[in-house]
């Protein structure tokens, strides 16, 4: 079984790095190079999945040293799902951007995007909190540069604010790393998990790291930077920011919470849950108030990120699974939504919601994609969003903390309100002629496919849960039922 010995996870980091360099070196061939790399990464992730299924969770010592001296990579079910999410969304975005960017923008887009992909894969695979800092910075800088790619005052200001926030978040995180390292003499997560004990330095580190990561994850009230950055970026970039980049810092937070800070206590968990609930409601209300489609979608991201934090006070496998399911289905659905918004902008040159009736009737596939993604976002069956809502609600009721369920339900109703507000325009008759630019078929179909992924997530739950349980990232004895 030679193929099982290939370190697929490592390949998934190396390939995009190599892809980024070659796209940079030969900008004229950036598009084919990028697409080939994207396909290769997808194959690597599939290979890693197969490896994990066969052999269980994997630890890989870079340089052969092993923790604590060297850096370890670690892959379990949680890692795998994040990588798969990145691969699917990444492939979709790669195809979409073929049509979206012109030649000049494409030559900048591809190397940056490959760097971002490398950063994501490296981040999800890393088992070392200092290495995580480096990947975070790689991720942040790539994301900022991609936002700025749109040009114009809005995008540049959005990118600038994003950069400042991102750096501030990283520095907080790094100071936490410093305190942890100097407390326990290691930056390896597993080693730290063994040695960690409550002390003032650890509490300070926890506060700093959580704050920094929350800033990057844009949890209410630290979300102020997100809407402008996500809404002003080019459509494929908005998609990958909302779908992937904010999830990366959440992933680190989740890992730290589960491994290093299990003593954090119920009070902090309740606080995170409270902020999450506030985010759900605030994001939903703000989304309803927006007049521009991309701003609306960006605020919905704020709300959806709130759902992730509802799992913290619930602290059960069902709850974590629910949060993870929010994360996955939101990634697919939000990608589809931003792509749809991108198509509408591309076609009609604007994204004012009240004037959408003139546009959407000519883009049936796009509006279908938006509607299907909306079904998942508001948590109606059959979709990934529904499964997520079900699991979180079940966890909330089982733990006796039904009030989190209220936030969940209200959030779903708010999303339904804005989704149908937009979709309603698809059925309005408008005969006003307008100048329009034909949208490449690839862009419409990718949007639709991503939305279909969000729907299908609701139908293949047992398979995904089986993958998630590799290595038992949430502890316990397996099945979430």
């Amino acid at each position: 079984m030679l193929a099982l010995d290939i370190p697929w996870g490592v390949m998934a980091i190396i390939l995009p790095l190599a892809g980024a360099m070659s796209c940079f070196l030969w900008p004229r061939c950036a598009l084919p190079l990028g697409l080939v790399t994207a396909l290769a990464i997808v194959i690597c992730v599939a290979g890693l999945g197969w490896q994990l299924l066969e052999q269980g969770a994997q630890r890989y010592a870079v340089g052969g040293w092993g923790a604590p001296l060297g850096i370890d990579l670690y892959a379990d079910g949680l890692t795998l799902l994040m990588l798969m999410m990145t691969a699917v969304v990444g492939l979709g975005i790669s195809i979409y951007s073929c049509g979206y960017f012109n030649q000049d923008r494409a030559r900048h887009f591809w190397p940056l995007w490959m760097f971002l992909w490398a950063a994501l894969n490296a981040l999800f695979l890393s088992a070392d909190i200092f290495n995580l800092y480096v990947t975070l910075e790689l991720l942040g800088l790539a994301a900022v540069a991609l936002v700025a790619l749109a040009g114009g005052a809005d995008a540049l200001t959005g990118a600038m604010r994003y950069l400042l926030v991102s750096l501030l978040g990283s520095l907080c995180y790094l100071l936490g790393v410093a305190l942890l390292y100097h407390s326990f003499g290691s930056v390896d997560i597993a080693t730290l998990a063994e040695r960690v004990e409550s002390s003032p330095a650890v509490w300070a580190a926890m506060g700093l790291m959580i704050t920094g990561l929350l800033l990057k994850t844009a949890l209410f009230p630290l979300h102020f930077w997100l809407p402008s950055a996500h809404a002003s970026a080019p459509a494929p970039v908005s998609a990958l920011l909302s779908a992937l980049v904010v999830k990366a810092s959440f992933y680190i937070l989740l890992r730290l919470w589960l491994e290093i800070f299990p003593f954090a206590g119920a009070a902090l968990a309740q606080l995170l849950g409270l902020l999450g609930a506030a985010a759900v409601l605030w994001g939903g209300l703000q989304a309803l108030r927006q007049t521009r489609l991309k701003m609306l979608i960006a605020y919905s991201t704020v709300a959806q990120l709130g759902y992730l934090f509802l799992a913290f006070p619930l602290a059960s496998i069902t709850g974590w699974t629910g949060a993870l399911y929010v994360l996955l289905s939101h990634a697919a659905a939000k990608t589809a939504m931003f792509m749809a918004a991108g198509n509408i902008l591309y076609f009609g040159g604007h994204d004012r919601i009240v004037d959408l009736d003139r546009v959407v009737q000519h883009l049936p596939l796009t509006i279908t994609a938006f509607a299907l993604a909306g079904i998942s976002i508001m948590g109606l069956p059959p979709s990934g969003g529904f499964i997520a809502k079900w699991l979180l609600l079940e966890a909330a009721i089982r733990s006796g903390q039904w009030w989190w369920g209220i936030a969940l339900i209200l959030g779903g109703l708010l999303s339904a309100a804005w989704v149908f507000k937009v979709v309603g325009y698809a059925f309005t008759r408008s005969e006003v002629p307008h100048e329009a630019r034909a949208v490449p078929a690839a862009m419409e179909w990718t949007a639709l496919l991503m939305a279909v992924v969000a729907i299908l997530l609701g139908l293949f739950v047992p398979w995904l849960l089986a993958l998630m349980e590799i290595g038992l990232p949430f502890g316990g004895e397996g099945s979430a039922g």
Binding site: G152, L156, L164, L171
Partner: protein, 101 residues
């Protein structure tokens, strides 16, 4: 080892002062500088506490600081250029609206 802690405390001080400046000042250059001060504070903490050994200070912390510095330099370069572009696009080297912090 008292000096190690002294330097580390200075590092903490730099971190907080940088944070203060980051929030207070509207001009982007000042914000970027404030972030650099914060970074220096973090590096100082990291490297000062590495001296709590018998003999050779902990080289891993030193390596981390070198890595951190390169990252900080890269980020600062990008931030400065971005600031220039913001200034060209909006006429001001400030963010349109202050972050809510």
């Amino acid at each position: 080892m008292i000096p190690a802690f002294l330097y580390a405390l200075v590092g903490v001080g730099l971190f907080t002062l940088g944070l203060y400046a980051l929030i207070i000042h509207a001009h982007l250059l000042r914000k970027i500088l404030a972030l650099n001060v914060m970074a220096s504070g973090v590096f100082l903490v990291l490297v000062a506490l590495a001296a709590r050994t018998q003999g050779m200070p902990d080289p891993v912390a030193h390596a981390m600081v070198i890595t951190g510095i390169v990252v900080a330099v890269s980020a600062t370069a990008l931030a400065l250029v971005l600031m220039l572009r913001v200034r060209i696009a909006t006429g001001r080297a400030e963010l349109a609206k202050e972050p809510l912090e």
